[in-house]
Symmetry: C2
């Protein structure tokens, strides 16, 4: 990436603001897009294209300003939004880095389960026990959640996570077979770090956001056994769809959380 193939839609003015929102558009949505949003889009494209890999630094604000022929302030505002969305991380004095799940600090980025006393760190690293990995065809529900066709190949994983030595989470994962070809049980069980970090490293899939739906359910016999609780124990069901860039769903996950010693924490504002 040295020369500059950028300037795809070629709108970036040299010295003037503006960017002709639209000629005499009769559309109900003129869709005025300020410059910094266009810059944000361009940077986003480079992130998606893998021009900079997770953990790497992106060019400095000055460099990007020169590249896009805008002022530093405009680049700054674009990066501000990307940072707010956790797509990049700013580090004063060092640079701006592509966010990654492979960092001690942001481990368990999507896990909201907390012990009633203390914090997750005090319980040591989570123990993963993989129960089952199999290739199946997507059910209607899985297909819809992952934007696949029913009967498309899907990897299904079942595992138990133990916190502080106690089995606490029973999870079923569904992954599009195409993107995760060759995934093995050993990979899932043995990877040192978050599973989402493994997705990045081994498959180039970077999860950017997720949506969860929570319900209270009763443990059936099989679930109760795996979690070492009585049958009909109430469990917190957490259904999660995780997305990469462009709102593309890449993982469906259904977790059953024991909430006798832990709780799901959420901050509202």
């Amino acid at each position: 990436m040295s020369t500059t193939p950028t300037l795809p839609t070629s709108q970036l003015p040299a010295g003037a603001a503006g960017v002709a929102p639209s000629a005499q558009g009769q559309l109900p949505q003129p869709a005025f897009s300020p410059l910094y949003l266009q810059i944000k889009g361009l940077i986003l494209q480079s992130l998606e294209n893998g021009e900079w890999k997770p953990g790497e630094a992106i060019p400095s604000e000055m460099e990007l300003a020169a590249r896009f022929r805008v002022s530093q302030g405009t680049v700054r505002k674009a990066i501000d939004e990307l940072a707010a969305e956790n797509l990049v991380v700013r580090r004063q004095g060092k640079g701006t880095f592509v966010a990654t799940h492979s960092e001690r600090h942001v481990q368990y980025r999507f896990l909201r389960l907390m012990p009633d006393r203390g914090d997750l760190d005090s319980e040591g690293p989570a123990q993963r026990r993989v129960i089952d990995v199999r290739r199946v065809r997507a059910t209607v529900e899985v297909a819809r959640a992952l934007s696949l066709r029913p009967s498309d190949a899907v990897l299904q994983v079942r595992r138990v996570l133990s916190l502080g030595g106690v089995p606490t989470i029973l999870e079923d994962l569904w992954l599009p077979g195409a993107a995760f070809k060759g995934l093995t049980a050993e990979q899932i069980a043995g990877y040192p770090g978050p599973t989402y970090a493994m997705y990045e490293v081994d498959f180039g899939v970077r999860m950017v956001r997720a949506e969860e739906r929570l319900r209270a359910v009763l443990a059936d016999a099989a679930q109760a056994q795996l979690l070492e609780v009585a049958s009909a124990t109430p469990l917190l069901s957490v259904e999660r769809v995780a997305y990469t860039y462009n709102d593309a769903p890449m993982e469906l996950r259904r977790g059953l959380y024991r909430t006798d010693t832990h709780h799901y924490r959420n901050d509202l504002n």
Copy 2:
């Protein structure tokens, strides 16, 4: 500017009361505070003092810039943060307004329960049925959550919310007796709008953020009857502490949500 050659380590220009980040502390944290954060603090103070009431407009950016003797950009950055925290709302062409729970748009600001199909609006307004209001002494748990002394007076409310005609949420509320003196069952049941809006209007208490802890539990006999479900039905327990300014807790709430037709939705990023 006139008399402001930018200020090294914190300080406010003439006129406004400074905030002096910290005395010559020997702390390892020098606590450098940029100008815009000091301005934010001053605006925050005015919000707390009630200089501008919920729903009212605050002075324009230009006015505030003049008042604090800083540039518009600095005021802007301060307001940006306040807007990000939902303390104020910006409206282009109109002004910046003190956020309020009394708006159709942001109704149910803290309620994350969604019908499995459709949205909350499609079910019409929630029906409130107040079961009980009484004055009690704070238990140890309630006292801790609300930063009170045990045996301090507390208002306890029990009510059932029905969505689309179906009883869906059983809630117990605990409010500091001092701040909510005179609260009646009629006020709670009859107020047209969110309960948090009633707190604002009738008691001058504005909730700014909240923390929730979720668990899966089983309905006991009394709860089951009120929610019209079988005993031992799994329910989502949502324990919420709501805070006003200065992180002062002003309400403890424990909701039991039916999750057979609804789910608790959470977006992660």
